[in-house]
């Protein structure tokens, strides 16, 4: 069948950069799936997008659905035809209702027996008709973090819809979406091009758009930005920091990226680099330029314009950045007049959370918690520093600098603490307290910082969980998933072997007992599930498979570092040892015993050679494990466990566990129970998936 391409563009006012990538992906997937369901699957579906348009190009769609057959059942054959084979009134009525002649009725075998039926050939619908119906539905099903209404207020989308292009081959696919009617034309760049562009198909569309200063491909815009930025930086003897995130955001803020290099007053290079780069990257979305020995007084700005013919854009950006840096210097000097400790009373007025009180109250809890954590991780020697860091940790929230440059929270506190002459572990801890910010971010540099970061995360998690505000689905307004994942990452990176449940219990206990929401034990149980999920993600990233992770986490999840070691040992051991027999044996034990613990076996009731052999091997292995497991020599322990596999196999072949003799039966169960108990201290092998 002849195939044709579908080109679709929905034009809007500026879509937020942060939602563009998701919208592009969802749109391509939605249209691809809809076409497949309708039996007109495309050979490929690609999507593009700029702040002002979402575009789909679905290639090779068959012109028409294949024909199909439908069957409508009527009365039983016996009732439809009289003894003479002539149609009865029932048959005539059915034919009339189906709008066919009686002669067209057929008799078929159905679930109801011999039945009269009407069969029709249903011709396939034209793809253009399928598209006209399916595409508006797909658009309607797109989800965004926030939608809005406009104009008459009847329609809602991420931003107002201003136009629609929909072509199948060279024909317009008729449709109306959110007030816009489909057509065969588009618009170029808002200020760099004029009028409408009539389009005959995909190739024509892309060519004309690019001629009208719109690059529809986000990835092309991003790499153009990075290429030009590198070139502009090199011209002044510098390079740009690798900043893929910022480049991606910039790419989705413009339709036609142009770049301009500007400079700022070199006197600002005296400011701490964190401040200068934050002003550039976060506030102005500029790429800083770095030379061999630090920042250069230049920046690269991306504009939604082809060039800066009059130099207005470069000058404007320079002027704004210089003003911002002047502001920052003023804040920095003002803030430096007072020590951090002098700001603590102000924290009384800064709310941490409506019902959880102020940052002053949080600071008091953090001190206690940081001290307890330092002790638990074996650094009782730094309890004093941990307390100091905790007490001052939130003071920078009320500095002028952090009020203005919120991204510098922590970092500024660290800079001010250093300037005050506080010990290095203390200022570094304050500086690093929010690390890691997310996956791929570094954890705190030193132990005191790691302790403080854990204390802060535990305190927030404990408080919000106590209020019953457990994150669900995509709703996580307090960023608790990231907070918990960061805590797991810290524990893993420092290999701190601690059962963290006790410290979370303490974090919970530091809040008033009468908070509304979950009771402390329920909150802790919820936290256990929540942390186990974060731990699973971390183990998966470390290369363990789903079943290995389940096996490890089932045995215990509160000591993250230990769980990670067990998982690593298990994943590694499975590559070299044959666990299949062992796993099947453990599944069998689970089937026999369920969750019951049948107590200790006794040598008195051993009858068969196979059970004596198993008991002997078990005792020998047990003795070894008692040495290996506490020493966390998990690889050797797993070898020991695997070594019992042959005698377990033999046991199951030769010995009948559920035998008629009650004592023997109980004892055999007890032997298996004891093996399970001893051998599942590293992993629950029954969770492991093997081929039967």
């Amino acid at each position: 069948m002849k195939r044709d391409d579908f080109l679709f563009e929905i034009r809007t006012e500026e879509i937020p950069a942060a939602t563009l990538a998701g919208a592009r992906r969802d749109l391509a997937r939605g249209i691809g799936e809809a076409l497949e369901q309708e039996g007109v699957a495309a050979e490929s579906v690609e999507s593009y997008g700029t702040p002002r348009r979402l575009v789909v190009w679905a290639r090779g769609i068959p012109e028409r659905q294949s024909d199909s057959e439908s069957e409508v059942l009527g009365p039983p054959a016996s009732a439809a035809f009289g003894g003479d084979g002539k149609p009865t009134r029932a048959a005539e009525g059915f034919a009339r209702a189906q709008k066919v002649d009686v002669s067209e009725l057929e008799v078929v075998d159905s679930a109801r027996g011999r039945t009269v039926a009407v069969r029709r050939r249903v011709p396939g619908r034209d793809a253009i008709d399928v598209l006209a119906k399916a595409v508006p539905r797909v658009i309607g099903e797109l989800t965004f973090p926030k939608t809005m209404r406009w104009g008459t207020g009847e329609r809602s989308f991420v931003r107002p819809v201003r136009g629609l292009l929909a072509l199948f081959g060279a024909r317009v696919v008729p449709m109306e979406i959110l007030g816009a009617r489909s057509a065969d034309w588009t618009m170029g760049h808002r200020v760099l091009s004029d009028g409408t562009l009539t389009v005959t198909g995909p190739a024509d569309y892309f060519q004309k758009l690019r001629g009208a200063y719109v690059e529809p491909d986000s990835e092309a815009r991003r790499s153009a930005i990075l290429d030009s930025a590198r070139r502009l930086a090199a011209q002044v003897g510098g390079r740009i920091d690798a900043d893929a995130d910022l480049a991606a955001v910039l790419a989705d803020l413009v339709e036609w990226p142009g770049l301009v290099r500007g400079s700022f007053d070199p006197a600002f290079l005296d400011l701490p680099e964190e401040i200068t780069t934050t002003a550039m990257r976060v506030h102005q979305k500029f790429l800083p330029v770095r030379g061999t020995s630090g920042l250069l007084p230049h920046f690269i700005a991306v504009m939604d314009n082809a060039d800066d013919r009059h130099g207005f854009i470069g000058k404007g950006n320079e002027w704004v950045l210089n003003a911002r840096l002047a502001d920052a210097r003023f804040f920095f000097q003002e803030d430096s007049r007072e020590p951090l400790a002098a700001r603590l009373p102000e924290l009384e007025r800064l709310s941490f959370q409506d019902r959880l009180g102020s940052y002053a109250a949080k600071t008091i809890r953090l001190e206690e918690l940081a001290a307890a954590i330092a002790t638990a991780v074996g650094r009782a020697d730094v309890v004093g520093q941990a307390r100091t860091a905790a007490r001052l940790s939130k003071a920078d929230l009320v500095t002028r600098m952090v009020r203005e440059f919120t991204d510098l929270q922590g970092v500024m506190g660290g800079l001010y603490a250093r300037a005050e002459g506080l010990p290095e572990p203390v200022w570094k801890a304050i500086s690093d307290q929010y690390r890691p910010q997310g996956q791929g971010d570094d954890p705190p540099r030193e132990d005191v910082g790691a302790v403080l970061s854990l204390a802060d995360r535990f305190d927030t998690l404990a408080g919000i969980f106590r209020l019953g505000l457990v994150p669900t689905g995509s709703k996580d307004p307090y960023g608790l998933r990231r907070a918990a994942a960061g805590a797991v990452a810290i524990a893993l990176s420092r290999r701190w072997r601690v059962d963290w449940s006790g410290l979370l219990e303490k974090a919970i206990s530091l809040y008033p007992a009468d908070l509304p929401g979950l009771s402390p034990p329920v909150a802790l149980a919820e936290l256990e599930k929540f942390f186990a999920e974060r731990l699973r993600n971390a183990l998966e990233r470390a290369g363990s498979s789903y079943d290995e992770i389940s096996a490890v986490v089932n045995v215990g999840s509160w000591d993250f570092a230990d769980a990670a070691e067990r998982a690593a040992a298990l994943t590694e051991a499975r590559r070299r040892l044959d666990f299949r027999g062992l796993v099947l044996a453990f599944k069998r034990i689970r089937n026999i015993l369920g969750a019951e613990d049948p107590g200790q076996p006794s040598a008195r009731f051993y009858r068969e050679d196979a059970e004596r052999a198993l008991a002997a091997d078990f005792l020998q292995a047990k003795a070894l494990l008692e040495e290996l497991v506490p020493a966390r020599r998990y690889s050797e322990a797993l070898e020991t466990i695997a070594s019992i596999s042959p005698s377990l196999d033999r046991f199951f072949v030769e010995v009948l566990v559920n035998c008629p003799d009650g004592d023997l039966k109980r004892n055999r169960q007890a032997l298996l129970g004891a093996i399970r108990k001893e051998f599942t201290r590293i992993a629950d092998f029954s969770e492991i998936v093997v081929e039967k």
């Binding site: 500026e14 200020v191 413009v254 404007g316 409506d354």
Partner: protein
């Protein structure tokens, strides 16, 4: 060089030519042009409305003793309300910049996501900050809700930060260097006021008095509402909102108080909005034109 007063005149003339009524500033202290009844009340209900006005916006906590080149206890906004929001509202806005001599093709003008919310007014909207050559010059909002009521039709609200734009056009590094007129700079006119307002709000203002005023204005708002007087009730609500800002600047609002105080003001604003909608149901936004007096 475009002076501040010329800037205001040009923008007003532009929006007048776009069919906007030129309103006058609200005659009491408000934190933003949105609080003017010409926005807050007029965006409610079904009738079309287009207006523009300058609103001095008073934010005591933003006072910097005249020392900060960017921050003021009292700044100027030029507020435009277009109801319903027209389809070409962005293009019309860009033309308003052209009127100021800013050609979009020669600059970098971007609409970057920035959603607006006023907890004290029970109001929020979706939109952008308009960034020109790296500088925020306008807040652009599709008003979704006011006084807790979903708005339909939806108004577009365009708020120009006048000092920012003037600084940009004058290429000066401090608000105080902006030319107000050809011969008078912003600082000559306003610096003393900024110093005194800052000192007053941060050091002198009697927090007990402000708290008392807040209580009393709240009671006034309620009794005005009971008497069916929505506009005075709303004005009393604005007075409460201002007293809250005074308390906040004075450092007299604790974390726990804050939530409760904001809720009290919001409750009033929501009650006013509901009363306005029900009292105005079926009545056009402008009173019916009176018969012209006929000469005898």
């Amino acid at each position: 060089m475009l002076t501040l007063q010329k800037l205001i005149a040009e923008l007003s003339a532009f929006w007048e030519s776009e069919g906007c009524l030129i309103e006058q500033p609200y005659d009491g202290p408000v934190g933003a042009g949105t609080m003017h009844p010409a926005t807050f009340l007029k965006v409610l209900g079904p009738d079309p409305w287009r207006c523009a006005y300058v609103q001095p916006s008073r934010r005591p906590a933003d006072g910097r003793y005249g020392q900060n080149p960017f921050r003021l206890a009292k700044h100027l906004q030029l507020q435009v309300v277009l109801k319903p929001s027209p389809d070409d509202v962005q293009e019309v806005y860009l033309r308003s910049l052209e009127r100021l001599g800013i050609s979009a093709a020669e600059h970098d003008i971007r609409f970057e996501e920035d959603n607006w919310e006023s907890p004290t007014l029970g109001a929020w909207g979706v939109g952008w900050q308009v960034v020109m050559d790296g500088m925020e010059i306008t807040q652009f909002t599709y008003f979704q809700q006011a006084g807790g009521i979903d708005l339909s039709p939806v108004s577009a609200e365009i708020t120009y930060g006048l000092e920012r734009i003037a600084m940009f056009l004058n290429k000066v590094d401090s608000i105080y260097d902006v030319l107000w007129s050809e011969s008078v700079r912003y600082g000559q006119l306003r610096k003393l006021e900024e110093e005194e307002l800052s000192r007053y709000y941060f050091e002198v203002a009697d927090a007990g008095f402000a708290a008392l005023l807040l209580d009393r204005w709240e009671a006034e708002a309620k009794s005005a509402l009971e008497a069916g007087l929505v506009i005075p009730a709303y004005e009393a609500t604005l007075a409460c909102s201002h007293q809250f800002n005074v308390l906040d600047a004075r450092g007299a609002v604790s974390a726990t108080d804050r939530v409760g105080l904001i809720r009290r003001v919001r409750d009033l604003a929501c009650a006013c909005a509901r009363a306005w909608v029900s009292s105005r149901a079926g009545i056009p936004v402008l009173a019916t034109e009176p018969e012209p007096a006929t000469a005898v």
